[in-house]
Symmetry: C2
Subunit: 160 residues, 2 copies
């Protein structure tokens, strides 16, 4: 897996070339994606803002995701990840967004969603894509892999 | 300086004992405070949400901080740090908040505000406190020291 800071730099370069701003909407990574991209000097040229919507209430309050949608699919779902990415764009000056919602562990597993389950959303070019992955390892390992995956796929989508 | 994760764990313990929820409003640390506290297992019991208001526009859009106040004091000021901490509480379910706004470098210095300048705000028990510090070192070092200081002072204020 490519280094997180290298990935963040590539994201920045791709956004800068395309004159795009990005935003984040993070649950299980808790700000790790925003932290990584803002580690890059000059990131204020292409990073607008991030929403760390850790509680379900904050997903509703900050991102206007309906309680009914969360109840229907569960907070850890591709549907909520998609809604988070869309809302990050809708509620900011960014055109591009990435979102994460998952179960970093050690607690929180539910039937069909083991510890390590992370759902991602990416909004690039008005198109939303989602993915569900199950990462191995402890809480820190799951979160790091989730940050790296969020950035790696964002680079790919920007460079398409 | 105490390890960031140890500080985050102490913040969590203090919040849990007092049945309080916290929020963050970060500019120069870019989500690093939220990332640190959510590294603690079970942080969903005491962490509500975070605002990574990196651009000035996002400080206005997400936290309702007036453009006039930013123009008057500059985004890197104790006045804006105070407003960010208050707004994090006002716009969330949290009772406690910490904010950061600073110049991590290498660019961005202005007269009277060298690289390494970070302004902090803490809202604890309906009281807002602020502080201005100048940290030494490169971008990563400044940001790490800022995250650690934000958490260390939050622990002290919670334990008063």
């Amino acid at each position: 897996m490519e280094n997180i800071i290298d990935l963040a730099a590539r994201v920045g370069q791709a956004l800068k070339q395309r004159k795009l701003l990005m935003a984040t909407a993070e649950s299980c990574t808790g700000g790790g994606v925003a932290q990584a991209v803002t580690e890059i000097p000059g990131s204020s040229e292409w990073f607008d803002c991030g929403f760390v919507t850790y509680s379900n209430a904050s997903k509703t309050d900050l991102l206007n995701i309906s309680e009914a949608l969360i109840a229907q699919h569960g907070a850890v779902s591709e549907e909520i990840a998609a809604a988070m990415a869309e809302a990050a764009v809708a509620n900011s000056n960014a055109q591009v967004a990435v979102s994460t919602t998952g179960i970093a562990g050690p607690g929180g597993a539910v039937p069909g969603k083991p510890v390590g389950t992370v759902c991602f959303g990416w909004m690039v070019g008005n198109k939303v894509r989602t993915e569900r992955k199950v990462f191995q390892g402890d809480r820190q390992a799951v979160r790091e892999q989730a940050v790296a995956h969020a950035l790696a796929c964002l680079v790919r989508q920007l460079e398409e």
